[in-house]
């Protein structure tokens, strides 16, 4: 893992001290809210519906057990004993009090964490594949590159007041688990003639005008990465629209100017600034890479694991859904579900955080990851340790065997917390999960991603859900619109609107009809919901959603 240098530590301390004095001045009345608001947002502090909210960055989703313990301690000391893990590899605390926030930031600083650039019109927390460094399908670990980008972008003087927020995601695998095509810049590590470089994707994004990113360079040599990123962001900084907040994202810039024109400007700028990058960045990268050296994997038999699979059906079921292939023989990647049926997606109590930290320390080379799907990952676990891990997880309410299934729902905070929401998201997620658990068909239905947002900002990624749900306000009543066929992987697609929205009471039955229709329509059990949708299109699903329309037409 990357370790802070003395420079980093001093920088965070200084920054926290600055914010402490700003908070004091707000409380004693020397700063007005208008003056204070941009300052608090620069430090990840929002004011939400019922309380303040502190958003803490978990760069590229990577944590060690000590950091996770501190996240738990913060939840106990200054919040209500839990934290909310988000789709952008952050943790959000929903109940801090203003005067405590400087202490929270200091506690984070002690373990090399912070809340800088988790808000504001700047380059946000850089996200990466949550299986980085572990996945069997990986070309190279994307985290050193993500860390380099973080260092370059943190407090970068030119990029503190961009037209709008700016999000970068990196993956080192063929299978895109980082939703790179829905980011302002997506970077995919690729190989050409034995060398690794990047496919550079720009202009993806969700929100009001969802767009899939476009390839700007199909192969960018590694050593050109920072100057090229700098060229893209500075062209956007100049060209991006500041007249209209909703048109300020780079996706609109690329769309309005055309990929070719935008690309030409980037290349021009790149040629100009390339010589300024004399190789220090590459030396830094080499240093960072050594921090991310893989742990020493042990070679041992996996007999205990095989035995447990054979004798314990619950264990087998969990292993089938929650494990992924590791690149080292005898190892597995464990995804811990934060989606117990009926629970709030992404929430973990402090006790659960501590347990996950302890398991990582004891069995997982002290590493944890947070996924953009609001789950927690132990990236390096020897298979023989899995039975012990499973029973510990299960005892803590963390043993749900549902990764990738219908109850593994991403849901934004919605109107239960978020000041921008137009409807609630969490209760809808809770009810869907509970309903399909009661029906006992979750495993039969197989891979299916439901994603829910409480407004058009699309924090819950509904546009890229196989089934997307968007909460709206229709004349003072909560209403839910369904989109179908979205996909957040390397084959990224934006879902299609299925038709008129449903009331809060009607949405669960509608989802049930949709899933039942799929079970009827699929050609074989191995055909996933998304495959069936792609084969048959919207029509049969629409008919299932709106049976009365069909009856009326007949």
């Amino acid at each position: 893992m990357y370790n802070y240098t003395d420079f980093d530590t001093a920088f965070i301390k200084e920054r926290n001290a600055q914010f402490r004095s700003q908070v004091e001045r707000r409380i004693d009345g020397s700063l007005t809210e208008d003056e204070f608001k941009p300052l608090r947002l620069m430090n990840g502090l929002y004011l939400q519906l019922h309380a303040y909210m502190l958003r803490v960055a978990i760069p590229y989703g990577t944590l060690n057990s000590r950091q996770m313990h501190v996240l738990a301690d913060i939840a106990d000391k200054w919040d209500k004993g839990y934290g909310h893990f988000t789709t952008r590899q952050n943790i959000q605390y929903n109940w801090p009090e203003l005067r405590d926030v400087p202490d929270m930031l200091d506690a984070l600083g002690e373990v090399q964490m912070h809340a800088i650039q988790t808000s504001g019109n700047t380059i946000r927390n850089v996200t990466a594949d949550h299986f980085a460094g572990a996945a069997a399908d990986e070309i190279a670990d994307p985290r050193p590159v993500a860390e380099l980008i973080r260092q370059w972008s943190t407090d970068h003087p030119e990029f503190q007041f961009l037209p709008r927020k700016f999000k970068v995601a990196v993956t080192g695998s063929q299978n895109d688990r980082a939703v790179t095509k829905a980011h302002d810049i997506g970077l995919r590590m690729v190989e050409r003639d034995g060398a690794t470089g990047f496919e550079v994707i720009v202009g993806g994004g969700l929100g009001r005008t969802p767009m899939i990113g476009k390839v700007l360079r199909d192969f960018l040599p590694r050593e050109d990465l920072l100057p090229y990123l700098e060229a893209i962001v500075s062209v956007y900084n100049l060209l991006g629209r500041r007249d209209n907040k909703y048109k300020a994202r780079i996706k609109i810039t690329v769309h309005e100017n055309g990929l070719e024109d935008f690309g030409a400007r980037v290349e021009e700028r790149f040629a100009l600034i390339r010589p300024q990058f004399g190789g220090v960045d590459q030396q830094m990268l080499a240093g960072i890479e050594s921090d991310f050296a893989a742990p020493e994997f042990r070679s041992a038999a996996t007999q205990d694991y095989e035995d447990a699979r054979q004798h314990y059906p619950a264990f087998r079921s969990w292993a089938d859904t929650n494990l992924s292939e590791h690149r080292a023989p005898g190892y597995a990647i464990v995804t811990i579900s934060l989606k117990a049926h009926g629970a709030t997606p992404g929430d973990a109590t402090s006790a659960q955080m501590r347990l996950m930290a302890d398991l990582a320390k004891r069995y997982g080379h002290d590493e944890l990851r947070i996924s953009h799907e609001q789950n927690v990952i132990l990236p390096h676990v020897h298979k023989n340790d899995l039975p012990s891990i499973y029973s510990a997880l299960r005892a803590a309410g963390l043993g749900t065997a549902n990764i990738g299934l219908i109850s593994d729902i991403i849901a934004c905070p919605g109107m239960d917390y978020c000041a921008l929401a137009t409807a609630r998201s969490i209760p809808i997620a809770q009810e869907i999960a509970t309903r399909f658990d009661e029906l006992k068909i979750e495993h039969d239905v197989g891979p299916l991603k439901i994603k829910i947002s409480g407004c058009i900002n699309a924090c819950g990624h509904h546009h890229v859900g196989h089934i997307g749900i968007l909460g709206l306000d229709r004349a003072g009543v909560e209403s839910y619109q369904i989109t179908l066929g979205g996909d957040g992987t390397e084959n990224a697609a934006i879902g299609e609107r299925a038709g008129p929205g449903f009331s809060a009471d009607d949405i669960i039955p509608a989802i049930e009809r949709l899933v039942m229709a799929y079970l009827d329509l699929r050609s074989e059990p191995a055909e996933t919901f998304l495959d069936t949708y792609r084969r048959l299109g919207l029509a049969p699903f629409k008919a299932a959603l709106y049976p009365e329309a069909r009856a009326n037409a007949a």
């Binding site: 409380i27 239960d416 929401a421 609630r424 009543v477």
Partner: protein, 101 residues
């Protein structure tokens, strides 16, 4: 024709805790039932200005519609309902406070 003025309360968040609060005749309360109901537009404007000037106490002041057909003011929109009540997934915030009285 100008639209008829509907009853309102002045609401905001508390500066220190972030809690949803309502202006009463003499100060602020966390309880909507104690809010001062404003039925006159000019009056409401004045109370809003007064509240907005209390920067050392409150953040984000605005007028919210209420239904006054019952004994105490009630929210007309579901957003204000959640603000008055707290989140629906946990008994936190106001619900928690009420559970302890």
């Amino acid at each position: 024709m100008p639209r008829a003025f509907t009853p309102k309360v002045v609401t905001a968040n508390a500066l220190l805790e972030g809690d949803v609060i309502y202006q009463t005749v003499s100060g602020w309360s966390r309880n909507l039932e104690e809010a001062e109901v404003l039925t006159d537009e000019a009056d409401a404007d004045l109370r809003l200005i007064d509240a907005s000037q209390q920067q050392e106490l409150v953040v984000g002041v605005y007028l919210a519609d209420v239904d006054i057909s019952g004994a105490a003011p009630k929210p007309t929109h579901f957003r204000e309902d959640f603000r008055a009540r707290g989140p629906s997934n946990y008994a936190h915030g106001k619900q928690e406070v009420k559970a302890h009285v």
